[in-house]
């Protein structure tokens, strides 16, 4: 297997609504910026993997087909990946496999989502509801997102995690977004502001929720030989782990005290592949799937940044903050930065690459050499992808 390098990254700004752009245009703008970043031309691209989550959002069951030829790539192969919130992560994995296997020299991953064409938030949530088991659970009208609430309550009951602890995640991530010029929701807020925001699904208030963003992100991968053709120093994908769980909200085999067993399995695979044995000591930063504030606290534990039940302490001690031992979501994450769903797992890689290159501006993590990108989707993280990147 060839080593796989990231040779180009790009993205659009992320915001609630790009009223002036179609999903094709958003994809094009991120592709153009990634090609410029790589010093590449579109003819250098041998194959594309599109990360586009939900047909309902784009009003199209084959949105990738309606982008590809407009990128001037007709008669080149392309594949669409759709795995909920892990769409971007799994697309990165598919592209990795195309390069590592020797099938192609240069493969581009294009993540795009345009969520605000759906008439309103209730219609948007309904479209996600159709991700549930169609025979049994979809008729409840319960979004898979609701499955996170139970996991977070479990963490509160068993480890004493509080709503204040979760609010600190929001303050951190909205605050980090102030250093990201492409972020959707930079805010200077306090724990009290978060606690005072309207309750949605106890214990999650509106500010504990991830964003619904529009935007696009692109990553260009190349094998070791081809990587030399492009501008700049490559960043290597050294670990790629993926894992799935039951798609039903409550069905989980007992795997001990892991609330997100697919996340742990994906991280363990990525760590093993990259030779990471001490995550807390060797992961310089992480861009992770903070779909809800409390989830980020659980994830610190799944990634081995701290022990079971120590997530809230890890955060309160500042270890996940900018300048901490393991900064988490310096871009702002899904709560402050963006959540253009299919694009998210791709944008996480864009951000980790910028950090490792030392190009992350005001959000730069000093000395960043190795980073983690992780995305997940479906009921309580039923899909998970973890990616280790190194300079």
């Amino acid at each position: 297997m060839s080593r796989v390098a990231v040779v180009g990254v790009g993205n659009t700004p992320f915001k609630a609504r790009h009223i002036d752009k179609t999903f094709q245009r958003l994809a094009y703008e991120s592709v153009k910026s990634a090609l410029q970043d790589a010093g590449a031309a579109r003819d250098d691209v041998d194959s594309v993997v599109y990360a586009i989550y939900n047909d309902f959002f784009e009003r199209c069951a084959m949105p990738d087909l309606h982008i590809h030829y407009l990128l001037g790539l007709a008669r080149k192969p392309a594949l669409r990946v759709t795995t909920g919130g892990a769409t971007g992560g799994y697309a990165m994995r598919a592209a990795y496999a195309e390069v590592a296997s020797g099938l192609h020299d240069v493969v581009m991953v294009v993540g795009v989502e345009k969520v605000a064409d759906v008439a309103n938030v209730m219609e948007m949530i309904k479209s996600i509801t159709y991700a549930a088991d169609p025979f049994f659970e979809a008729s409840l009208g319960a979004s898979p997102a609701g499955s996170y609430g139970g996991a977070i309550l479990w963490h509160m009951e068993n480890y004493g995690t509080t709503e204040e602890d979760m609010a600190r995640v929001v303050v951190k991530n909205k605050g980090n977004a102030r250093n990201n010029p492409d972020a959707h929701s930079p805010m200077d807020i306090t724990v009290a502001d978060v606690l005072a925001s309207p309750m949605v699904i106890y214990p999650l208030k509106i500010l504990d929720h991830c964003l619904n963003s529009e935007g696009a992100a692109t990553v260009i991968l190349a094998n070791e030989e081809a990587a030399g053709r492009f501008a700049g120093k490559p960043v290597w994908m050294t670990g790629v782990g993926a894992s799935n769980e039951s798609g039903r909200q409550a069905e989980r085999d007992d795997v001990g005290d892991s609330l997100f067993p697919a996340v742990k399995a994906s991280a363990d695979r990525a760590y093993a592949m990259a030779g990471v044995s001490d995550p807390a000591g060797s992961i310089d930063l992480a861009e992770v799937y903070d779909s809800f504030s409390g989830v980020e606290i659980c994830l610190y534990e799944e990634f081995g940044f701290c022990g079971r039940g120590e997530g809230a302490r890890f955060l309160a001690d500042g270890r996940a903050s900018a300048g901490g031992s393991n900064p988490v979501n310096p871009s702002g994450g899904l709560i402050g930065g963006e959540h253009a769903i299919g694009a998210t797992g791709v944008y996480q890689v864009v951000e980790v690459v910028r950090q490792i290159r030392g190009e992350a501006g005001a959000r730069q993590v000093a000395g960043a050499r190795r980073g983690l990108a992780q995305s997940m989707g479906g009921a309580r993280g039923a899909y998970s992808v973890s990616i280790v990147l190194e300079g």
Partner: protein, 158 residues
């Protein structure tokens, strides 16, 4: 037809064309090998599960084959009793599929003998009285209100 967005004229917003549209697809979905679950639920107010004849796992929601033994399972009537596993309180209207007015409690119940919990709603219980392990039993809607979907029943404390 008049309220169907697919036939309405576009709107203009900030110089951009905003096109009203709708995806509307009707189905007659075959429940296939799972049919007995839905028929028994609607006609007889029973929750059916399946048991693997090889490893003995009891599945509800039912699955027609055991994913570990790769053999066909047998139908079994489930006990309507079980215990609460996880729960949360829904405070807003999430969408028009939702049957209950918020706030309401949603969560999972492990039916007696089952390998995995099922998702449902809780009624006649205060949120503060909910806890893991709380004994509950299924209550079925009256026959004329049942439609053969899992929202035909909910759980109350024993």
């Amino acid at each position: 037809m008049s309220d169907d967005p697919r036939f309405k004229p576009l709107k203009e917003q900030d110089g951009f064309a905003i096109i009203p549209d709708r995806w509307k697809i009707d189905y007659f979905a075959s429940a296939g090998e799972l049919s007995r679950f839905f028929l028994e639920l609607k006609d007889n107010a029973k929750i059916m599960g399946t048991r693997c004849p090889s490893c003995g796992s009891l599945y509800c929601w039912p699955r027609s084959w055991c994913h570990e033994c790769y053999v066909d399972c047998e139908w079994v009537e489930m006990s309507p009793r079980g215990e609460v596993v996880v729960f949360s309180r829904i405070e807003i209207n999430l969408n028009d599929l939702q049957q209950m007015q918020p706030p309401f409690i949603q969560g999972s119940v492990l039916l007696e003998g089952a390998r995995y919990p099922i998702v449902s709603f809780f009624r006649d219980v205060a949120f503060d009285d909910m806890h893991k392990g709380l004994p509950v039993k299924a209550v079925f809607l009256p026959a004329e209100e049942r439609t053969g979907r899992i929202r035909d029943f909910y759980f109350v404390p024993e």
